[in-house]
Amino acid sequence: MSGAPMVPPMPTSPLEKLRWTLADGWTLVRREFWHMKSEPIQIVLPLIFSGALVLLFGYVFGSAISVPEGGNYREYLMPGLFAMASGTPAMINAVAIAREKSKGVVDRFRSMPMSRVAMPFGKTGSDIGIGIIALAMTATVGLLVGWRAHEGLGRTVAGFAILLFFRYAMSWAGVFLGLATKSETLDNLGPLFFPFIMISNAFVPTGNMPTWLRTIADWNPVSAVTQSARVLFGNPGADATHSAWPLEHPIIATLGWSVLLIVVFGSLAVHRYVTAED
């Protein structure tokens, strides 16, 4: 066809291939930010979301919840909301990818001479940037209602870093879920996401739950993440003694959960993307 550009030949050396993979991944990372440019509401969505939750839990339910060893409930609540914000890509990515799969966008990518792994890596990679924005928004709401990090700059940064790492892991879980499920199935699974977040120590201490439920809540990754944030930010509930190992060693538990999720869902998602036939 007239005026068609010359396409650079396929790379042969491993180094060139890696460069192509990174270039493709970066293009797809930028795509997510172009989405934000064309739909700015997405940027402030976490702000509205965490604002509503702070109002609901911090002021409505919180007025009746007492924090173990005292302390401000809203300071107790914020680490839970950070953990919740970090869990959302599992659902958001799954829905977005399942939709693109049904629209044929995934097929188009797979029929092009681009890196096989760029699409899942681009999706999860862009989520780090989106996660930083979401955490900043949530923290802003927290600061407005009296939440503070009390343990100095180093531990504060560590707290946010561990939240982001967990988010990255959840992002991979979402990519796999989206590739493995049909769009309609996900609509039905969606409501299960909230029990996953709620059956944890994110909003209330687990101590008064029935034993069986308490065991589930204590071993929920969300609990370890919440507890890590409480410890690193020095928020109420940080010093409470726990019967469950993940809450006694929340940081190790969070890192362990995250690595496990990345390894399992990362390899499943890449394998699924490269070989998918449906």
Binding site: V7, A23, L28, W34, D107, P113, A118
Partner: protein
């Protein structure tokens, strides 16, 4: 027009088979598309058209058989195949949250064009396909026809040697359909090989120089539209003045042709295949007259591609099931079997 040696073929497939669970989607399908031509692939839902395109576009692998596109094996050299193909279909496979221009820019970057080249290519294509004004808007706001055109453009960024169009006009209004047709004709003139699947026989008739009829996972005919029509013979249509006389007219036609005539009461028409001169039009008219039937029109004509198709798939009977609306996969097969005389 290219010759018929295999080296001239842009798409060759031999004995392609593919099974999804219990469904045998392809059962030894053969295909040959000469370079620089438009090939129309016809078949009812579930015949295996989309599966074939997905194999040729390297999205899935055949269970057996082999295929080459632009000279490369679709399994062993799939990386190279992807350099030479474009894929567009009934789903507008573009990012709806991006503008048309940003979509093309993104796909251009994924072909490893520089940002400058990707942008100018996007602008060229938008201009050429009459989307320059809408280029800055999000695809969500586009009409069905505009989306389909953008989808087509997105598969033309690198000027592919072989373009796969999977039901490109399904669900489009006639104006949008004409625009897609014009685009396909242009591409073919510039030397792109096009494999087009369609359920609309007039679409294949309009665009394709070669027709491949597929049914239940196999190729059942492959020729030019004219040759296919010639092969099943002309048709003789009789229109009566009074619909009450239609059955008697059909009876006369059936007797002469030795085949059951097809009756369309809405048009007061009886129609029958005209086989190898066995049916002298003059004799038919005389016989109709003798029976005291009042005839409005008698005409001898080439069959439509619909009639060719129905004959080939064994559905040449008075009231063919409307396979265009048949449910996908096994159901349509059941319909077709039930439809056999």
């Amino acid at each position: 027009m290219a010759g018929s040696t295999e080296s001239d073929a842009s798409v060759v497939a031999e004995g392609l088979s593919k099974r999804f669970g219990k469904t045998e989607a392809l059962r030894g399908l053969d295909l040959y598309v000469a370079a620089g031509t438009v090939c129309g692939m016809l078949g009812p839902n579930g015949a295996g058209k989309t599966t074939t395109v997905r194999i040729l576009a390297t999205l899935i692998r055949p269970d057996s058989g082999y295929a080459r596109v632009a000279g490369f094996d679709v399994v062993r050299d799939r990386g190279k195949v992807r350099y030479h193909i474009g894929l567009a279909g009934q789903y507008a496979a573009v990012d709806e949250k991006l503008s048309g221009r940003d979509n093309l820019r993104m796909f251009g970057r994924l072909y490893h064009l520089s940002d400058r080249v990707a942008r100018s290519r996007a602008d060229d294509l938008l201009e050429r396909f009459d989307l320059a004004e809408a280029g800055g808007r999000r695809v969500e706001t586009y009409s069905g026809g505009m989306r389909r055109r953008l989808d087509l453009i997105a598969s033309l960024i690198i000027a592919p040697r072989v373009l796969f169009l999977d039901e490109p006009t399904t669900g489009l209004d006639p104006a949008s359909r004409n625009e897609i047709w014009a685009a396909v004709r242009n591409l073919a003139q510039e030397g792109t090989t096009v494999l087009l699947t369609t359920q609309y026989l007039d679409e294949a008739d309009q665009l394709a120089s070669q027709i491949v009829v597929v049914d239940r996972g196999r190729t059942i005919a492959s020729d030019t539209p004219d040759a296919l029509k010639a092969a099943i013979g002309d048709r003789l249509d009789v229109v009566v003045r009074d619909v009450r006389e239609l059955a008697a007219a059909a009876e006369v036609l059936s007797r002469f042709a030795g085949l059951e005539a097809r009756v369309t009461p809405e048009r007061r028409e009886a129609s029958v295949a005209h086989n190898s001169g066995s049916l002298a039009v003059v004799d038919v008219i005389r016989e109709l007259d003798r029976a005291g039937l009042s005839v409005e029109n008698v005409s001898l004509r080439r069959p439509t591609l619909d009639e060719v198709f129905l004959r080939l798939t064994g559905n040449d009977q008075p009231d063919p099931p409307d396979w265009r609306d048949a449910p996908p996969e096994s159901n349509s097969h059941a319909d077709m079997k039930a439809g056999k005389p």
